[in-house]
């Protein structure tokens, strides 16, 4: 036997001897839990879409790399995310989701924007595949009898309950309000929610203003507000429009006792652009890293935030935490179900009642977030920082009311 043949035979023999020992380890490592979906990384919803995407990646990376995978029914799994850019386009998103269903994916994460989540949830529902999402709050998603869709927020018409409860605690109690919203699915429904909650709480509605989807000027709306000034001005519009409204309010001296802007003040870019004028503006906030929940994987919201910072330089937003919670919720539900069968996982999600770093996870029978558990908090910009002013147990500062006039803000 030549020397080369001896080496070859020895090598093959060694490999054959080692094979039985390697095989189980390899099989263990290659078990994957595929979760599909689409996210808007480009197009109109890209700003928040990027936050949602980062949240998904943060959770999956932590579970895979730091914890070495997750154990479900005695087996170790690594999570494989199959997420594609839907370009903020519902038609493209539905095609992407249908393709993944055809390829055998059983579990889905949501995109961002009710206009995308609704048609994609309809597709997963038809295929009896589960979707957990943090990007769609429109009532339409939760009032069509879907059984396989779960959302991390209450439906839009129930999202304003916390804010109107806060308004009732203010002294002197405000009497009147006006509401501004965009002409799109989410914003209009949110506007309806504002009216339902505020009317029920006994505030008198002076006006409602419906803006187009893209806004370049709100001077006429502000002229009307100056002519008929409410105590509370509630804007449930997109973040760019929130900034435009606030800037034009300052410039035209349009003062109200309290300005609430659903989206905008959470963003550092909004607060930087307005500077001192952002002081005392209220907004909804669903999370900050001081929320008091114990997380079975990260430990706490603070530790989640710390890990996020090791992965991304982009400032964290509540959508990041909500998106990470979607994956955690899936894993806990699968562990509780002791199965990867979509039907068993769906039932475990229906019964969900546990903490994550985002919130206490509990869904209504229609699949949206239970308003008390997932109803969020109210933040107010104070000294350039977003402080939680409601609910009582989570608050970091007292609400400032009435807000100083624009020209009195120091």
């Amino acid at each position: 036997m030549r020397r080369r043949d001896v080496l070859l035979t020895a090598g093959l023999g060694a490999a054959a001897l080692a094979a039985p020992a390697l095989r189980p380890a390899r099989a263990q490592a290659t078990k994957t839990l595929v979760i599909g979906g689409s996210v808007p990384l480009t197009g109109a919803a890209a700003e928040t879409g990027l936050n949602v995407n980062n949240g998904y990646i943060t959770a999956a990376t932590y579970l895979n790399d730091v914890l070495g995978g997750v154990e479900i029914a005695g087996e170790k799994y690594k999570i494989e995310l199959k997420l594609f850019d839907d370009a903020s386009d519902p038609a493209r998103a539905t095609t992407l989701i249908q393709r993944q269903i055809d390829a055998g994916t059983d579990f889905f994460l949501g995109s961002f924007g009710s206009n995308i989540v609704l048609p994609t949830a309809a597709i997963t529902e038809r295929a009896k595949k589960v979707m957990v999402q943090t990007g769609g709050g429109s009532d339409a998603i939760f009032t069509r009898g879907f059984k396989y869709s779960f959302g991390m927020f209450p439906r839009a018409t129930r999202q304003f309950a916390a804010a109107s409860a806060l308004f009732k605690t203010l002294k002197p109690t405000p009497a009147t309000y006006s509401v501004i919203y965009n002409n799109d699915a989410f914003s209009k429904t949110a506007g309806e929610g504002v009216k339902l909650s505020c009317d029920a709480a006994g505030f008198k509605r002076l006006d409602q203003y419906e803006l187009p989807g893209k806004v370049t000027d709100v001077s006429s709306v502000l002229a009307s507000i100056r002519a008929n000034t409410p105590d509370l001005l509630v804007c449930v519009v997109h973040d760019q429009d929130s900034l435009l409204i606030a800037r034009q309010m300052v410039a035209t001296g349009t003062n109200v006792k309290l300005l609430f802007q659903g989206l905008g003040p959470q963003l550092a870019s909004y607060r930087e652009a307005l500077g001192k004028y952002s002081e005392a503006v209220l907004c909804s906030t669903y999370w900050d890293d001081s929320v008091p929940y114990k997380d079975p994987f990260f430990g706490s919201a603070k530790k989640f935030h710390d890990y996020y910072k090791t992965k991304f330089t982009r400032p964290i937003a509540y959508h990041v935490s909500g998106a990470a919670a979607c994956i955690e919720t899936y894993v806990i539900a699968m562990q509780n179900a002791k199965s990867l069968n979509p039907e068993a996982v769906r039932e475990a999600l229906v019964a969900a009642d546990f903490d994550t770093q985002y919130a206490h996870i509990k869904f209504t029978p229609e699949g949206d977030g239970e308003p008390l558990s997932l109803g969020g908090m109210i933040g107010q910009v104070q000294k350039g920082k977003l402080e939680t002013v409601f609910p009582e147990k989570a608050k970091s500062a007292e609400a400032v009311y009435p807000a100083p006039a624009w020209d009195k803000k120091a």
Partner: protein, 291 residues
């Protein structure tokens, strides 16, 4: 009474800004017969450049106008000479597809470079206002209007009295005759595109100081430019100004007296009506007289 005066004033201020944002689109359409679907992205490039330069140098964003216009002029010249002209040579529709494709690509490059987050330019007078009688004026919008009017006047003077303007007009009116007189038509087309891109960039600065912006706003500014040109007429600053002012006033009057969600409805209704009764716009095509 004060409400209608306020609404009309707001409309005129907004209209002046629409006019500046559309004049580049109008010039390209009038001279090159190209519908530049990347117009909105050039506007946004101007806004982002102004943000970068004004932040880096700590100067008022309006002072960045010459730098931004110079950069956009150079970009526009190269873009037309080496990309659009080739598409035009092959098929009349080619330029439309090309500019659409470039808009999509540049939008994604912007998202990659600047993130999809909203940005805003905040000059020192961003929150100032003043009153004339019962009417309140937003200082930043009025300064944007003033910049728009100055730039539109400069463009009108350039087209009317300068050698470059004469060559552009000659090429637009009688391309063959201009060629026979020794005009390098391709060079003139590229210069025209450069001038238009420079004005789109200047419009971006003006828009950036009054509105928050993000890469996905590009379609809005292309669409607005298209409507302004159809209303006012093709090829001239005066047409763009008229179309812009009309659009601005219609916008604010509709928002005030019909409803804030209806300006797009009245805007496109007006567009359809004008296309039916006066398809060349209110002032007609500035270069059509001798065609």
């Amino acid at each position: 009474m004060s409400l209608i005066v306020q609404t009309l004033s707001d409309g005129l201020v907004l209209g002046g800004i629409y006019a500046l944002s559309a004049v580049g689109f109008s010039l390209i359409f009038g001279v090159l017969h190209v519908i530049n679907l990347s117009h909105g992205i050039l506007v946004l490039v101007g806004a982002y450049l102004a943000l970068i330069v004004s932040t880096a140098l700590g100067v008022d964003p309006m002072l960045t106008i010459p730098v931004v216009m110079a950069v956009l002029f150079a970009f526009g010249y190269v873009y037309q000479r080496f990309l659009i002209q080739r598409a035009v040579d092959r098929s009349p529709l080619g330029s439309m597809l090309l500019t659409f494709g470039v808009a999509l690509m540049l939008q994604n490059v912007m998202i990659w470079v600047f993130s999809p987050d909203m940005k805003s330019i905040t000059p020192s007078y961003a929150f100032a206002s003043f009153h004339l009688g019962l009417v309140t004026f937003d200082a930043v919008r009025v300064s944007a209007l003033a910049a728009s009017l100055v730039l539109l006047t400069l463009l009108a003077v350039l087209l009317k009295y300068s050698a470059l303007g004469r060559v552009i007009r000659a090429t637009a009116q009688q391309t063959l005759a201009a060629q026979l007189c020794g005009v390098n038509v391709r060079h003139v087309y590229a210069l025209t595109f450069g001038v238009s891109a420079a004005f789109a960039g200047a419009a971006g600065i003006v828009i950036g100081i009054i509105l928050p912006f993000s890469p996905n706003d590009e379609a809005l500014w292309t669409m607005n430019a298209f409507v302004v040109v159809v209303l006012g007429g093709v090829g001239s600053p005066a047409g763009a100004l008229l179309g812009g002012l009309l659009l601005g006033v219609v916008n604010t009057l509709t928002a005030q007296y019909i409803g804030p969600s209806f300006p797009n409805v009245t805007m496109f209704l007006l567009l359809v009506l004008l296309l039916l009764v006066r398809p060349n716009g209110l002032l007609g095509n500035a270069f059509s007289a001798s065609r």
